[in-house]
Symmetry: C2
Amino acid sequence: MNIILLHENDFLDSDTVILTDHRKDHIIDVLKAKKNDSLVCGLVNDNIGKGVISNIDSAGIELKVSLDLTPPPPLPLTLILALPRPKMLKRIIESAATLGVKQIYLINSWRVEKSFWQSPVLNNNNLEKILISGLEQAKDTVMPQIFIKKLFTPFVKNELPEISKNSLCITAHPKTNNPCPYSIDQQTSLAIGPEGGFIDLEIETLEQAGFKTVSLGKRILRTETAVPVIISRLFSNYFNL
Amino acid sequence: MNIILLHENDFLDSDTVILTDHRKDHIIDVLKAKKNDSLVCGLVNDNIGKGVISNIDSAGIELKVSLDLTPPPPLPLTLILALPRPKMLKRIIESAATLGVKQIYLINSWRVEKSFWQSPVLNNNNLEKILISGLEQAKDTVMPQIFIKKLFTPFVKNELPEISKNSLCITAHPKTNNPCPYSIDQQTSLAIGPEGGFIDLEIETLEQAGFKTVSLGKRILRTETAVPVIISRLFSNYFNL
């Protein structure tokens, strides 16, 4: 937790915040902060800044906050992921949030096991916790949006062209010789298949929707490795700021 | 498992292999392979190629193998990691192996919790299993080497200069404005700190050993995300092959 994320309802008045939940515990147990210490804070979907501890005891922490800095810029990326297995989903979403992805579509695909759709990880509450954890790592405040699309063909044919309009559209796919672009400065829509990859028919459907297949070379990467590798490659300028 | 990794003692003669362990189960249960099917195979630390199933039953699988292709080239990288917490260590080592890292040093640092050194993950057998799993993902055969160094200062002062000789030496560290280089084609030694980062004295010691601090921007990444992000950034040409 590199930033204490605040919500509107944490505020007593315009600059006073009371924390009584796990954030209080984190400040006391992990940060070992004391009265008058200054902590990095941010308001969800708003500015970041600092909070000075004006009162602290085991019941709660009072902070005087001033939030006058903008959060780090988002990545110009829409991520379209064939639903990964639940354990991986958690890690992938968290790291995508940390990296600055703000739109994530979780879609079906032939090789997505049906049981994955039953996972409690997909509950809104759980997804929000994972996203918050990713933002806390990155010192970001802007909540990513996650959209769940359980039918591949209607989504790719009817919705994806509008979602990906005016963006560079690519599908990461080991079975091609087109190299993945790098150091671009362009709105991008990136589709990544399930373990075992998209099937040929799905690749065709994506191509008809404007998505060009690109490869990362001979090594086949797990989705959790491929996501940071591709993001870093596409947006190398971004990780200089 | 995108390649069946073979060991010398799997061979009955120069081109015949018998599998009776978890690889047999994987071929039957996951790949659902039948007699005369051809599978991607590789000999550890040697060539890759194919194995054709000449006999298959629940007791074992016999393959006729021909291994005439070289494995994917290694990354020109030595990774020096402050020992991560065990759960993360497993994932980081596996993804480093998949990405083609062949030398990994696990070192101590002020912010490494002492208990991490007691983890069973660090046993040679367990490390080898993790590395094999990373290679199986990448269709690679060349086993990475892992070196364990429990004393920071003697290692950095006395051993690291020789290990990193004639290479680009960098420490990934959020508290600097030097941008991390990208698209290089050079032997590189990369040091990455623990959760919370290296302390100032450690950064100084690394600088005296020739390691320049570089940053990936405002977002602070977990080690498991930072490793693929930095590797992809440094070796973007490599992920085109």
